[in-house]
Subunit: 334 residues, 2 copies
């Protein structure tokens, strides 16, 4: 159907090798024939078959990006970072929404591998993502984003979740809160665990350990935050403050508190995590810890490209960026 390089060759009266060279601006073809061939290509609406080209060049100009939930405003931001960076290199990205499901993750990674993507960027769904991926023994460079495994051979770009969470918790402690709860997201998520650890460590350091008020997480979404907080309220457990594993969880938590006539921050202080765009709405005004989402995306892509350049896989690249506590309106002195 589509016009190929051979068709052009027939029209131009040259061999198809010459056509290929002309279109790729090789020096060993004369200016005139180059012009001629390019003209013919234009006139016939020729479009190079990238997949044929990819076969011989062993390069698909394609990256894979796995995110747990593209509906969480955190991820579109990193996706943009990845894509913009990839674009500068002429690469496209496969977006894969894993739904916090490691099965689906592996499924996706396998097809990305079969499609011979040049690299894979993973915002992992759970802690066993790492082993599972490792067991795949991929040839493709992989870089994790948002959380890390302790396997130093893997590359990642993260913020120090634990420290960030500690910062948030200590801020709450400074404000005079002692009964501080943690409401988590997916329990098997590494980021969730790190954030929980940061929270607990901060309490421990300030001698508040016995006050730890854990609400086990379930999912990184509004409903989960709402339900967990509601349940806690129903049990009569009303903490002074709550640190949430996520901004959207925080939104659900606030929703639950206020629908039970607890004022935020009047009665309960709340701090989120991620600083999604909607956290800064005056009506929301959520105190939270910010991550450089876009930059994390572009840096992850950057690492992939470095790995592609350097032929040997080499050691893992590790980038840990600084979080920032954004003090807004959902926390108050007690």
């Amino acid at each position: 159907m589509a016009v190929t390089i051979k068709d052009l060759a027939k029209i131009a009266g040259v061999s198809y090798a010459t056509v290929s060279r002309a279109l790729n601006d090789h020096p060993e073809v004369s200016i005139e024939t180059k012009e001629q061939i390019k003209k013919i290509a234009r006139e016939n609406g020729y479009s190079p078959n990238e997949i044929a080209r990819g076969l011989v060049k062993k390069n698909t100009n394609t990256l894979g990006l796995l995110v747990p939930d593209i509906s969480n405003p955190y991820f579109p931001e990193v996706a943009k970072g990845v894509e913009d960076r990839a674009n500068r290199e002429g690469y496209n990205i496969f977006l894969c929404n894993t739904g916090w499901n490691t099965e689906k993750e592996i499924q996706y990674i396998k097809t990305l591998r079969d499609k011979r993507v040049a690299g894979i960027i993973i915002a992992p769904a759970a802690s066993d993502t790492y082993k599972k991926v490792k067991s795949l023994e991929l040839d493709n460079p992989v870089v994790y984003i948002g959380s890390r495994s302790d396997d130093r051979s893997m590359s990642f770009v993260i913020i120090d979740n634990e420290k960030a969470s500690s910062m948030a918790t200590e801020y709450l402690i400074e404000l005079g809160h002692t009964d501080i709860a943690f409401i988590g997201g997916n329990e098997n998520s590494v980021a969730n665990e790190e954030r929980f650890n940061g929270y607990r460590n901060a309490l421990k350091i300030h001698g508040l350990e016995r006050e730890v008020h854990i609400v086990k997480g379930s999912s990184f979404n509004r409903e989960s935050g709402f339900n967990l907080m509601s349940a806690s309220i129903k049990e009569g457990r009303i903490p002074h403050a709550v640190v949430c594993a996520n901004d959207i969880i925080a939104l659900g938590v606030i929703e639950a508190l206020e629908s039970n006539f607890y004022n935020v921050p009047g009665d309960v202080s709340v701090v989120g995590f991620d600083d999604i765009a909607y956290a800064s709405l005056p009506k929301i005004n959520l105190t939270t810890v910010a991550q450089p989402k876009y930059d994390m995306g572009s840096m992850a892509a950057d690492i992939v490209f470095r790995k592609i350049g350097a032929r040997q896989s080499g050691a893992g690249n590790h980038i840990v960026l600084q979080p920032a506590l954004i003090k807004r309106g959902t926390c108050r002195k007690r």
Copy 2:
């Protein structure tokens, strides 16, 4: 580097055609050799080269999806719809963020064409997207999502933007507002235009035409909404109500109003468009018109697959879904 079908053939002591057939479960190879070959494939970590396969099968199992701004929560939702539907067919999707830029759109489409995607789903950036795309004379099936051109040969899945906008405007009129403003998004966006027309028609029908209070749009984002409303306020133009081309614009509008000490809905009623997830937050509680975002995505993918099945391109498929006015808390009787 990677193990190929020929390597497996050598190990198994059969021809590589047999290997191919075995791995694809062709009937003409005996059960035993099939098992044998599959075992060898597993042991050697064989992964089929999809791009080589794609070359001969002329099929990449890949779709392209163009969205203007993945950061607008509307688009991740349709992206999910597209992706989930595509996944059921074993397809992956290239996500392309066009930034409301038709140049970038065309650029993307060209590389998608070169990469021989099976189909392209476009949430167009502007009204001239249609002609530009048409002039590309693509072989790939294309379906538009979110807005249509009058060229009936093109496929699309949309809601009736004009009607939806009319609904919203009439609701405002019913509530007793007469001075109703429209704050738009990107001016050359078709959806924006349709929504503006719906607004104006509603006013006309109710004899309010002279009251039309147009604030020309600039972009589909919060800053734009904020700036336009702020400017209007600065000029002393405080409408009774404002219909926004977008939820995030509405958020910006509300922000501007309230930071100037106008109460919503006490002083000014506001209605948005899209019903993004954050519109339903109690603190936001935005009255808006909802689109079945996820379904629109999956239906668009559906059309693509139908087109792939039917060899001839055929007529355009047109799906127009029903919007729903979601009455929440940002509108009040006057």
